[in-house]
């Protein structure tokens, strides 16, 4: 490394190290807020020293050493004498010598990052708070970026993050990675948050932009990190596979004028084959694990894989998809799964089969204002030739959706019911 590093280059290096730095520091001081401050302090020192002295061989270790030194100075200066702080100071002293800024990269750092992810996604927090905090401390997004991604004002996100950090400090979380049965119990709340972030980017629930790819990209990155750090869990791999395959379709989902293009009509030449390959590989690894690919994410990935493997919409293996939905229903009972199951059955066995299944769930409370239900029912009715009913279902769906592009699509389908006369 040479001297004369620009601030821009140093900040890029810091960004690479930031999450791990905060993770390591949070484990020591048991406070995410304080850990972030210490990491920021270390950046300030780096910006002062690296331009002349050059970037250290192991910048991550250098930043960690610098931040820990600050932590100890602060504790001593404040003359904090509570038992807790003395304990932390002792831990700091004992770990201090281990840090060597020119040492080879320590791969156990992944464990600290995982500990931070588990803390940020702790079930004591609401899923919104988990998502915001994870994007902030693990993803390195600014509160402004998170606010824009979730279409809320920045102060809301800032408060959400502050409260989440306080709740974690109050609960006295240790930032250790849960093991065994505890890991099993806490993993779903981690995966749920990552997939929530992905969906907020992939299928924006509100606003005029149908897709906010940056958010989907960030979730995909989190999923990849999790798959690297927990390679022995079929659901972790299943979620990674699901997001890889869904993300492969991002370039094909939006047509002219920002109109949503449904899966069966997408230009498959625009699907990202690289992501599909990664997704299929992750799914194969999930399936190879002892518990098999029977969890909700692995099954959803298997569903996505059916579409990814079909060279054209006509080649889609709908009976297999219908069978996967039958299984998914067993591990993830939900009216939404039932609805998609009805759609799959309609494709495999005809619109009458779809109508029969959809009418079984039409009264479900969860689907009362759910646009895809009348949209699907409209599609089945259209296909059996009950056009007036189909039109009315499409119109209902159009009034229920909050997404402008989707509304335009549904209204066009309503129009088409007249055209067929």
């Amino acid at each position: 490394m040479t001297a004369g590093e620009t601030h821009q280059a140093i900040e890029a290096t810091f960004r690479i190290e930031r999450a791990r730095l905060i993770a390591g520091l949070a484990r020591l001081v048991r406070d995410i807020d304080r850990a972030e401050e210490l990491a920021q302090d270390a950046l300030v020192v780096a910006l002062a020293e690296w331009p002349t002295r050059g970037v250290p061989v192991n910048p991550g270790a250098w930043l960690m050493t610098t931040a820990k030194r600050r932590a100890i100075d602060a504790i001593r200066r404040d003359k904090m004498r509570t038992r807790k702080h003395e304990e932390i100071a002792r831990t700091l002293d004992s770990t201090f010598e281990e840090a060597d800024d020119d040492a080879p990269v320590d791969h156990d750092l992944g464990d600290e990052l995982l500990g931070l992810i588990f803390a940020a996604c702790h079930p004591i927090l609401s899923s919104d708070a988990r998502a915001a905090l994870t994007l902030r401390v693990v993803g390195g997004l600014t509160t402004d970026e998170i606010a824009r991604a979730f279409l809320v004002v920045e102060t809301t996100i800032a408060q959400r993050i502050v409260r989440a950090k306080k709740a974690i400090a109050r609960a006295g979380l240790t930032f250790e990675v849960p093991r065994g049965a505890e890991r099993e119990a806490r993993l779903p709340s981690v995966l749920e948050v990552v997939y929530l972030i992905f969906n907020e980017g992939y299928a924006a629930t509100a606003g005029d932009d149908l897709v906010r790819p940056a958010l989907a990209q960030e979730a995909l990155r989190l999923g990849r990190i999790l798959a690297a750090l927990i390679p022995d869990d079929a659901e972790v791999l299943g979620l990674a596979a699901l997001m890889e395959i869904q993300a492969s379709r991002l370039p094909a989902r939006i047509g002219p004028n920002g109109v949503f293009v449904p899966l069966t009509e997408q230009n498959r030449a625009r699907w990202d084959r690289l992501l599909i390959r990664r997704g299929l590989e992750a799914l194969a690894r999930a399936d190879a694990l002892s518990e098999g690919g029977n969890g909700p994410y692995a099954l959803q990935a298997a569903l996505a894989a059916c579409h990814a493997r079909a060279r054209s919409a006509a080649d889609t293996d709908w009976p297999r998809i219908a069978g996967l939905y039958d299984r998914l229903r067993g591990v993830m009972p939900s009216p939404v799964v039932d609805l998609n199951r009805a759609i799959a059955h309609s494709m495999a066995f005809g619109p009458e089969a779809g109508l029969r299944l959809v009418d079984e769930i039409a009264d479900a409370d969860a689907l009362r204002a759910y646009a895809p239900l009348p949209a699907a029912r409209g599609d089945f009715l259209f296909r059996v030739g009950r056009l007036a009913e189909a039109r009315s279902e499409f119109e209902t769906a159009a009034t229920l959706t909050r997404n402008a592009a989707e509304r335009a699509f549904l209204l066009a389908r309503a129009e088409a019911c007249d055209g067929k006369h």
Binding site: R15, G223, R224, T264, S312, A375, E406, L410, R413
Partner: protein
């Protein structure tokens, strides 16, 4: 953003890699670096390419297609391997690339090239092209 990281060839790499202890150590170092990239969620794909002695070039000129067999001259202009990364910006890509162990035994170069993204191509891809081919008039299915 997605970038392709091109490892440029050298006179040595063009001769093929004998499994010397140095080469094996270099291989292991590259493995450790790749592992770091994977754990950071940056790694997308990578592959090494055989020397140009095993390559072929197809020269286009109007309707004519001429096949040229390797090896090719100018070793340092050839590509010996590539890696595809997903990064926030070029600064991040450069910061990662600086950490990459030297992929070759002597002096060598790595070149980082950003992919064209949809936004860059907006002026080249017509709406009609985006919308085709269409396989049917099915409605929004909502199936994963």
């Amino acid at each position: 953003m997605r970038v392709m990281v091109l490892m440029k060839a050298t006179e040595d790499s063009e001769k093929g890699v004998p499994p010397t202890p140095e080469a094996i150590e270099a291989f292991a170092a590259m493995d450790r670096f790749t592992e770091e990239l994977v754990e950071a969620g940056v790694f997308v794909a990578a592959a090494g390419l055989k020397p140009s002695a095993e390559a072929k070039r197809i020269a286009f000129d109007g309707a004519s297609r001429t096949i040229i067999d390797g090896p090719f001259a100018e070793a340092r202009e050839l590509v010996a391997g590539f890696s595809i990364w997903e990064v926030k910006d070029m600064d991040e890509a450069v910061a990662w690339a600086k950490r990459c162990p030297n992929p070759m035994s002597g002096p060598s170069e790595i070149e980082i090239r950003p992919f064209y993204e949809a936004a860059d191509l907006a002026d080249f891809v017509t709406p009609e092209e985006l919308a085709t081919p269409r396989d049917g008039t099915r409605g929004k299915l909502g199936v994963a």
